[in-house]
């Protein structure tokens, strides 16, 4: 036993797969200490906030100390980010009307655009066909650019006096004022942004990975336990026991498992479907494959001489199954279990995408996250953070488990050893 385990951990593939899986589990354990929020808490008003660091604008302007920094390219950057595409197009329109060829104007090159604007814009000139309102619009854009560039510019902070109802100046944020982010009271990192409901995707992903692993594990254990028991009985006892078991196994084989899974989930009804219920349903529909392969292995084992010797030594049937058959298929059963766990996770994802997964109010699962992303069209809107990390997590878990299995296979099947 100890020897076998040492052998297993000498297999590179197993170790890599095992390390990945353990790292995932470590994250599941550690992350809630870092972000203790409940995973389904709605943080954002609005949908699909992009990943990033969110700084409270109020707290930043009211930071205990504001530092003055004179940065050379601050104005350019500010204009770059403030000048909207609409403004740029309006500027282009003016310049073209002024006689410049459209090809000479690069909208993306802010410096060049501003230089042309400096050179050609005259606030009081009214181009042919231009409405008065349009002229005022251009004046506003131009004034805005000037104020962003002026060294002494800034904005006045004001609050309404509760008694008089008058606006009173409370402070001034200058263009050169900077707050140190560590002194800003409220900063929230949303590494994967928010989803359609405004919930933190990363917090949700961590919780969902845990729940999905649990579903896979419960489903895998059930499927393997049923498959192993039926396979052992059918293979070892044979006769009518085998006939009955094989009848049901064949029945389950001809009905595609996933269709059965859909039908059962559907008939249970949304409010009855907890995560564990789904796991049990998956487990009870996916034992067929394990039964078949355990049975055929036991078939070839039961005529082996070591089993005959055990019979001749007066051992009982249960003891022969446990001591003379089980150890020979144990490695295989472990591999089947790992495979069942990873396919249980995939089955939950498949069910949830179809809207037949666990109910949506308690815990997230990887499948439910995919389902939400799909319903709210994250893929159409290009909000990759709502589905891509989920896909990658599913892929990572499957990959690590398959890697572990390949490693185990190499240890247990000497013919495959390289």
């Amino acid at each position: 036993m100890g020897h076998t385990i040492r052998q297993i951990f000498r297999s590179g593939k197993f170790v890599v797969g095992f390390t990945i899986l353990m790292s995932v589990l470590l994250v599941l354990v550690v992350y809630p200490w870092w972000v203790p929020d409940p995973p389904l808490q709605i943080l954002g008003q609005g949908t699909f906030f992009p990943p990033g660091i969110y700084v409270s604008a109020y707290d930043a302007s009211n930071a205990p100390v504001l530092y003055t920094l004179n940065l050379r390219d601050a104005a350019d950057k500010r204009i770059e980010s403030r000048l909207s595409q609409e403004d740029r197009l309006a500027m282009q329109e003016w310049l073209v009307a002024d006689g410049l060829p459209e090809s000479a104007i690069d909208l993306a090159d802010t410096d060049a655009l501003l230089a042309l604007w400096e050179e050609h814009y005259e606030p009081d000139r009214r181009l042919p066909g231009m409405t008065f309102a349009r002229m005022r619009y251009y004046q506003r854009v131009d004034a805005g650019l000037d104020s962003l560039r002026s060294a002494g510019g800034g904005e006045i902070l004001a609050a309404r006096n509760p008694e008089t109802g008058e606006l009173e100046e409370t402070g001034m944020v200058k263009l050169t004022d900077y707050a140190n982010i560590s002194q800003v009271a409220n900063v929230r990192i949303l590494p994967l942004g928010t989803d359609n409901f405004g919930r933190d995707v990363l917090t949700q992903l961590v919780a969902a990975t845990g729940v999905s692993l649990l579903i896979g594990f419960v489903a895998g254990l059930i499927a393997t336990a049923i498959g192993l028991t039926l396979g052992l009985l059918a293979g070892y006892i044979g006769g009518w026991v085998d006939d009955i078991i094989m009848f049901f196994t064949n029945l389950f084989t001809v009905i595609p498992t996933f269709v059965l899974l859909i039908l059962i989930s559907f008939s249970i009804g949304q409010d009855q479907r907890g995560a564990i219920t789904i796991a049990v349903v998956i487990g009870f529909t996916s034992w067929v494959w394990t039964t078949r392969s355990v049975r055929s292995q036991v078939f070839s084992l039961r005529n082996r001489d070591h089993v005959n010797l055990s019979k001749l030594s007066g051992h009982s049937l249960p003891r022969i199954i446990v001591a003379d058959i089980l150890p020979y298929i144990a490695s295989y059963v472990v591999m089947a279990l790992i495979l069942q766990i990873s396919s249980g996770i995939l089955a939950e994802a498949g069910l949830s995408i179809l809207g037949l997964g666990p109910r949506t109010t308690e815990v997230p699962t990887l499948g439910l996250m995919m389902n939400w992303a799909m319903i709210y069209q994250a893929h159409v809107l290009g909000n990759w953070w709502a589905y891509l990390p989920v896909l990658l997590t599913i892929a990572l878990i499957s990959f690590s488990m398959n890697l572990m299995n390949t490693g185990l296979d190499q240890v247990f099947n000497p013919a495959l050893r390289d």
Binding site: R304, D305, H306, L309, S310, K311, L312, S313, G314
Partner: protein
């Protein structure tokens, strides 16, 4: 002569058919036999003639498709697990391939302790059990102290087969079925194995059913010889009558496969070569 002794195992029309339909294969085909107590019987036939299948039916490890087996004159009844366990106190086996005959997850100790337990020694003091195991190992010239924490696969084929004999030494069954006990081990160990087997049989007086493809070996060890060809017993009788005066062409062919069997030969040089 053996015939005046009590019947210990006999069969009428014993048949084993494997598979069904077109793949049907009759491995043992309506064989009759009478084995007497204390006799050494050889069953000789080519590979695939059904010897092992018959041995397993005799041992009650597989059921017969047809026919009846009689144990000590009575119809053998091993339908319940308890009766089978009782039957196996009387009949034991040595298998052809020692490498697949042991559970590789159990230490050698377990194998021998099982035998002591089967003989009702489950509650003996540990020291007495060790004494018994030492005696059994000593019988086949193995050192118990060296084996006790080893696994069977750490031994050589010859040592494993000797351990099998030690097992029989502890069990002391009435009947022993030895299915080609020397065919899978190296030539050097063969003679010793055979030696221990004969010594054990002489000490216990058990009935020995010796299965072999080597008719020379059968002549050397046995009182009675049964010749098996494609599942049937084509000829049987005392070793002298069958081997020195064969009636069947099949028997003659088996004999001609053994070098120099027609010339007067010194058995010790053949067997212990």
């Amino acid at each position: 002569m053996a015939t005046d002794k009590k019947l210990c195992l006999s069969g009428r029309g014993v048949t084993k058919v494997f598979g069904i339909g077109r793949q049907k294969l009759t491995a043992v085909d309506h064989v009759d036999f009478d084995f007497h107590e204390g006799e050494i019987i050889s069953i000789v036939g080519e590979s695939g003639s059904g010897k092992t299948t018959l041995a397993k039916m005799l041992l009650g490890l597989i059921s017969s498709s047809e026919g009846e087996i009689y144990f000590q004159g009575q119809k053998r009844d091993i339908r319940s697990g308890r009766k089978r366990q009782e039957y196996w106190k009387n009949i034991q086996a040595i298998f052809q391939d020692p490498f697949s005959a042991y559970n590789t997850f159990h230490k050698i100790d377990t194998v021998l302790l099982d035998c002591i337990r089967m003989r009702g020694g489950k509650h003996l003091p540990q020291a007495r059990k060790v004494e018994l195991m030492e005696e059994a190992c000593g019988f086949v010239n193995l050192k118990y102290a060296e084996l006790t924490h080893k696994y069977p696969f750490e031994l050589s084929g010859g040592q494993m087969q000797r351990l099998m004999i030690a097992r029989i030494f502890l069990l002391k069954p009435k009947i022993l079925v030895a299915d080609e006990p020397t065919s899978m081990i190296d030539a050097c160990s063969r003679a010793t194995i055979l030696d221990y087997l004969m010594k054990l049989r002489d000490e216990t007086g058990m009935t020995l059913i010796f299965i072999t493809h080597d008719i020379g070996l059968a002549y050397y060890v046995s009182d009675t010889v049964y010749i098996m060809e494609r599942g049937r017993f084509v000829e049987h009788g005392s070793a002298d009558s069958v081997i020195l005066r064969p009636r069947e062409p099949y028997t003659r062919r088996l004999i001609s496969d053994v070098p120099k069997i027609h010339e007067p030969w010194d058995l010790s040089t053949v067997v212990f070569a």
